[in-house]
Point group: C2
Chain length 341, copies 2
DNA sequence: CCTCATCATCGAATCGATTCGAAAGGTAAA
DNA sequence: TTTACCTTTCGAATCGATTCGATGATGAGG
């Protein structure tokens, strides 16, 4: 039914192998026949059958992006990853297959063992991620996004979460803030001991305390009620609080809202610095000073490393990207007198 | 290198075809050999080579999800679509290949003509979408999400945008509001004459005016400054405004914020009803009365229809889903006396 | 004029599955 | 005992590409 390489060969008056060599360019072909073949391909709108091609060449030009199901459908930060991955893959001539784990890791195993993909990109890798062990045993090109903690020697990319926390703290310290609160991710995230959440928090609090500032933290899920609890709790724990670090995209607008509800002005009474994707910070009611997560760069780097492995190159086993602080309208020097209220 | 069906056959002491029949179940196999073969498959961790399989059977168990590039990386509404599509596809045993159009529609054409996918799901279909014409000429199973306006006889699913607009208007009318504003999508959306945006607006304004209510509308992009302009503009145009319809996820929190900034209480002074995904409405600082877009149902339906076509079933050519209004905390009866301010 | 490379092309084997037709074995009916 | 039929299994052809070895043509060097 569909157009095959034999049709093209007949139409151009050459053998099937000649058409194949025109396609792959692995043997020299006279300019004349090349032209005839290319004309036939164009005229018949021929595209090689992907399956037939992969069966011999072992490649199929598809990589998998594996999202963990735990994060569920409502995690807003993922779409930029998906977009960046999708466009980066297409730029390198690769197609993108999306996977998520239903029961265990069967989806990953099936696609890899069934040679449906050339490589796998594992998103949101956690400490002791069972997918990492699986992928390590599968011996297929792979890149992890996030920092694993087991020994499978798979290359990974991540951003420097500790640096992000430290940058926030230093920015507030530079502005003279000495009483600071830290709003982190959901309690579940800390219970699971997710690496970046813990590192960012520890770096931020450590930096503050080393500078003899008073500091407290709280986890926070995305619901309005819990955000109010979190903000009120920090205000109670840190008397005269003037600075707030928020590492929780979902809660950020609600935090700003809660502060307004309490009659606290930003940044005159309280300075707020967030850790979140850059456009998210810009889109708040008040453009927010933030440490930008290099989300798109992370995704692009991961795709590049994966493509490199597929092509047999050797790639760095660890790539850490640095986040950068961008000052906007939610931070200002601490009110004179230390505790302004 | 990899385990093939021949390895399994040897290991189980049967022929290759027998293994294949065990796999597909298209011929009867004695319980005894079936067991031996299944044991061998399990022991060798065999998975059939996807490409080799597709070359004969013509199927490969992959569908494509084509996102239009125009919407870019920052459209927050897409992730729920992706999640719903991904899980629905996996539930039906299908893998999901993501596509976006780089230069024209080559990605779609390549994957379809190269038999890399069994069917295509076209997202965010617009009037006069060039992708629709292409897909129509490709004669491959397809489903459109959104309402096309050309003649390619491809089945599509959409939600009833006009009904969504009407539900909002009727809810406010029921509560006694007679002066209402409508905040729509970005100016670019209306310039492109995107069907659902226009239909929803017309239905809302039409319903209001038929009930002799005063109404005005404005487009609005997602930036804080433009939201302020939009809200202020409506307040100026509709003197004594007490109701607001917002069909713009991105702007919604900023609208609420702007109203608060102007000293207008919600819902005491102004009632707000939104059109957006349900969880988005719930997550606002004030849980928002909203017409829920049946995003996940839309995606699931589309996948089901696509899978149906792939299996040779005939499917309805038009499927329209009804959105439903859920009352939360941002709407209340109109202030007594008509124009309360 | 006769080698000997080099270049362009072809034929045939091959990849890993599916699937058709036929063979082997067993059972029931005549 | 023979015939017919059903079940189970196998062998071989097939799908659409890639790729190796071989062949014929062309030109350069002796």
């Amino acid at each position: 039914m569909a157009v095959t390489i034999a049709d093209v060969a007949k139409h151009a008056g050459v053998s099937r192998s000649t058409v194949s060599y025109v396609l792959s360019g692995t043997r020299s072909i006279s300019a004349q026949t090349r032209q005839r073949v290319e004309a036939a391909i164009e005229e018949l709108q021929f595209r090689p059958h992907a399956g037939a091609r992969s069966i011999r060449s072992g490649r199929n030009g598809v990589i998998a992006m594996a999202l963990p199901m735990v994060y569920g459908p409502h995690n807003q930060v993922q779409m930029p990853y998906v977009w960046a991955t999708l466009t980066a893959a297409q730029d390198l001539g690769l197609k993108l297959l999306m996977l998520t784990d239903d029961d265990g890791e069967t989806a990953i195993r099936d696609t890899v063992v069934g040679s449906q993909v050339d490589g796998v990109m594992l998103m949101e890798v956690q400490r002791n991620d069972p997918r990492v062990a699986l992928l390590g045993s599968l011996k297929c090109p792979a890149v992890l996004v996030g920092t694993p903690d087991d020994s499978a020697r798979l290359p990974y990319v991540d951003f420097d979460a500790a640096l992000a926390g430290r940058l926030c703290a230093e920015h507030l310290l530079d502005l003279g803030h000495k009483r600071v609160g830290y709003v982190g991710q959901s309690p579940a995230t800390f219970r699971r001991d997710v690496a970046y959440a813990v590192h960012a928090r520890d770096a931020a609090l450590g930096t503050l305390r080393k500078a003899r500032a008073q500091a407290a933290w709280t986890p926070c899920d995305g619901q309005a009620a819990d955000v109010a609890r979190a903000v009120d709790g920090l205000l109670a724990k840190v008397h005269g609080l003037t600075g707030l670090i928020v590492y929780n995209e979902r809660a950020l607008p609600l935090v700003l809202d809660r502060l307004a509800g309490l009659g606290l002005r930003v940044p005159q009474d309280v300075s707020v610095v967030a850790v979140c994707p850059d456009d998210e910070a810009e889109r708040q009611p008040v453009p927010t000073t933030a440490v930008a997560l290099p989300v798109e760069e992370l995704a692009r780097t991961a795709v590049r490393l994966l493509a490199g492995q597929v092509n047999g190159e050797s790639v760095p086993s660890v790539t850490i990207l640095a986040p950068t602080l961008k000052v906007r309208d939610t931070t200002a020097p601490a009110p004179a007198g230390g505790s302004g209220r």
